[in-house]
């Protein structure tokens, strides 16, 4: 447990696998840079691994003032206990005020183990972070400049803002894809600090026998235009309409959880609370009612077109273009209109 200290740095866990940085630390860095500037403190990345020094430079280009580099052959592969030990020791040494992790499988495995050991608070799957003041209801005491950890709760039906004012560091995991990464600045200067943490056998209780990773077939996060289908599309055969419209637009096809569960399309294409969070320029929602869990993953889209035969579908509340009609008629009309445009040009 660490006392409240206002000079503590803001930290980001720089998750990497096989020498490749994940997207999340880069996404987190832009938000963390902003938080550190408000607090007038340094932003540091914590980078455990083996032969990964080159990643330090990248983290600096994305906003880090400092990189705590912990290189050790025993850290080559991620293990809960060894990584937790490294970060636990560094937290006690440097006493940061904020520590952020991506809400990846590894981040959600690691952060609670550390929080339990440090006896600090941890908020899961945040979708926004801010700095603000909190007044205690009982003693009316105002705690200034706390980390507001903002997250959906109750299946996305409410948004809760969580704080920890007395036991630091303030820690949170942040949903993948919700923070917008900034462009790297090759001229940014920063400091790489090499740290040594002694590991014992106890810190490495796992033996990884086999690992199989398939590269993600689809990268919805990077898509500029997304055409998504819901249960309303009706069948896997009819889902061809979604693919056709997506092809016309150079868009990525996507789906709701309901459509994935019905087997219309692979899970990699799922948008929403249990899928990917996206923020494309254009999101076309076809036969999607717009449950809150789906909206959680796409409401940040710049423009939303909704096509649904039910005028009361919640998706229309967030759509910029509302088309009440039969998708089997509307989608072919859109394809036709798009083809005519491209012929004219």
């Amino acid at each position: 447990m660490i006392e409240v200290n206002r000079n503590g740095e803001v930290w980001v866990f720089a998750e990497q696998h096989n020498g490749q940085l994940e997207d999340t630390p880069i996404e987190l860095m832009s938000k963390a840079r902003h938080l550190a500037d408000i607090l007038h403190v340094k932003l540091a990345a914590v980078l455990p691994g083996d032969k990964i020094k080159k990643l330090g430079k990248k983290l600096i280009q994305h906003g880090a003032d400092k990189v705590y580099l912990v290189e050790d052959p025993q850290l080559k592969t991620y293990q809960t206990n060894s990584y937790a030990k490294v970060i636990y020791d560094l937290i006690h040494k440097h006493k940061p005020q904020i520590v952020l992790y991506g809400a990846t499988v590894a981040g959600r495995d690691l952060a609670p183990r550390i929080a339990s050991a440090v006896k600090a608070g941890l908020t899961a799957d945040c979708t926004d972070l801010q700095i603000g003041d909190h007044q205690n209801i009982k003693d009316k005491k105002v705690h200034p400049n706390l980390l507001f950890q903002i997250r959906p709760a109750f299946g996305g039906n409410i948004i809760a803002t969580i704080i920890n004012h007395d036991r630091w560091p303030q820690m949170a995991t942040v949903r993948e894809g919700v923070m917008v990464p900034t462009e790297p600045d090759a001229k940014r200067k920063g400091e790489i600090i090499e740290e040594k943490i002694a590991l014992t056998e106890q810190d490495l209780p796992l033996e990884i026998l086999e690992e199989h990773k398939q590269p993600k077939k689809v990268d919805l996060k990077a898509a500029r235009i997304i055409v998504a289908g819901g249960a309303g599309v009706g069948s896997k055969d009819n889902f061809q309409l979604i693919w056709d419209l997506a092809n016309c637009l150079g868009a990525s096809p996507a789906a709701t959880r309901a459509a994935v569960d019905l087997g219309f399309i692979d899970h990699d294409h799922q948008v929403g609370q249990t899928g990917t969070t996206v923020r494309p320029s254009l999101y076309i929602a076809v036969g999607i009612s717009g449950q809150i869990q789906h909206q959680a993953g796409m409401s940040q889209s710049q423009k939303i077109i909704a096509i649904n035969s039910d005028p009361a579908a919640p998706i229309f509340n967030i759509a910029h273009y509302k088309i009440v009609g039969d998708l089997n008629i509307v989608v072919p009309m859109m394809i036709k209109a798009l083809r005519e445009k491209s012929i004219k040009e």
Binding site: T80, A84, T104, V105, R108, D109, L110, P112, R113, A115, S116, G121, L122, T123, A124, D125, H134, L146, F148, Q149, A153, F154, G155, G156, N157, I158, I159, A160, T161, I162, I163, N164, D166, R167, L206, E207, I208, E210, E211, H212, K213, L249, G250, Q273, L282, I304, I305, F316, N317, I318, A319, H320, Y321, I323, G325, D326, M333, M334, A337, L338
Partner: protein
């Protein structure tokens, strides 16, 4: 031979069924307006324990921390094949965040002999996935999260397959371990009719007290006490008493329980109301659609 499995379960409001009536005006959720269910991934954890028991023998103890009403999910576990059920209930548990919850659960688990602790990856009311890893840390044991299947169990070695999002991993560890189990791990069995018949009258002391109080509104406290004691010993004799522990029973340090043990506090709750800033209705006609496409092209939304 055989393995002692402890399964941690939670009774949760069915968040998939939240409607307008389930929300208070201040944006908080009326828990009472929602049906209470067995947290789905905890059913997968229980199923995994049942399969271990079927293959290797051993004992399954199910623990929940919650209000007296959580007795329902403990009975449900007995219907599905658990051997023993324990309710950790105490008003001093109120307002516990994940850190305090994992501390309280660790005090309860430490009272038992265990080889494998299993829980669902996450509960649908909070979706934090934090209690499992925090509990493992407090017990000082190895955790394997996102477990999809158990590949091998031999003496004190376990091999589990984890789902790592874009692939899988096979991991070997030594017992004791804590596993968090995901929904694709198995298809939880339904309750067995024979066991429902056997356990439908299983109750915890706090439920017995509530029942006796309702049935004997006139009785004074000492009479109720006697009736409760009598009923408890009767159920105990036929192995139908759900064990009940409070924070003293599990020697919990109150400093780490409830509000004082919870570093995270709620600053604000807002209900989710998303609306588009500007929106227009498009006629589902060839002209309506063509005009929209034209507008999107001239706005450079579509290249």
């Amino acid at each position: 031979m055989g393995y002692n499995c402890v399964v941690l379960i939670k009774q949760v409001p069915d968040t998939k069924r939240i409607t307008g009536n389930a929300m208070n005006d201040d944006g908080t959720v009326k828990r009472s307006a929602l049906p209470a269910i067995f947290n789905p991934e905890d059913l997968n954890a229980l199923e995994m324990a049942l399969q271990i028991k079927e293959k290797f023998g051993g004992k399954i103890t199910v623990i929940t921390m919650g209000l007296p009403a959580a007795g329902a999910v403990l009975r449900d576990s007995l219907y599905r094949g658990a051997d023993e059920a324990i309710l950790v209930t105490d008003s001093r548990c109120a307002a516990s965040d994940t850190l305090a919850t994992s501390y309280i659960l660790s005090c309860a688990v430490k009272k038992l002999d265990y080889d494998i602790v299993l829980c669902g990856r996450q509960a649908i009311d909070g979706d934090t996935a934090q209690v499992g890893p925090q509990l493992a840390e407090k017990l000082g044991i190895t955790q394997i999260t996102y477990v999809e299947s158990l590949e091998q169990l031999e003496n004190t070695n376990i091999i589990a397959k984890r789902n790592i999002g874009n692939g899988w991993q096979k991991i070997k560890a030594s017992l004791p371990v804590l596993l968090t189990v995901i929904n694709t791990a198995n298809e939880p069995r339904v309750a067995a009719a024979r066991k429902i018949m056997k356990y439908k009258k299983a109750l915890s002391p706090v439920e017995i007290r509530q029942k006796i109080k309702t049935e004997n509104p006139q009785a004074d406290e000492s009479d109720i006490e006697k009736l409760v004691e009598h009923k408890c010993s009767g159920l105990k004799n036929v192995n139908m008493l759900i064990k009940q522990w409070n924070l003293d029973d599990i020697s919990a340090d109150l400093q780490w329980c409830g509000q004082s043990g919870s570093p995270t506090k709620v600053h604000r709750i807002q209900s989710v109301v998303l609306t588009a800033k500007e929106s227009k209705a498009i006629e589902p006609t060839e002209k309506g659609i063509a005009d929209m496409i034209h507008e999107l092209i001239s706005d450079k939304v579509i290249a």
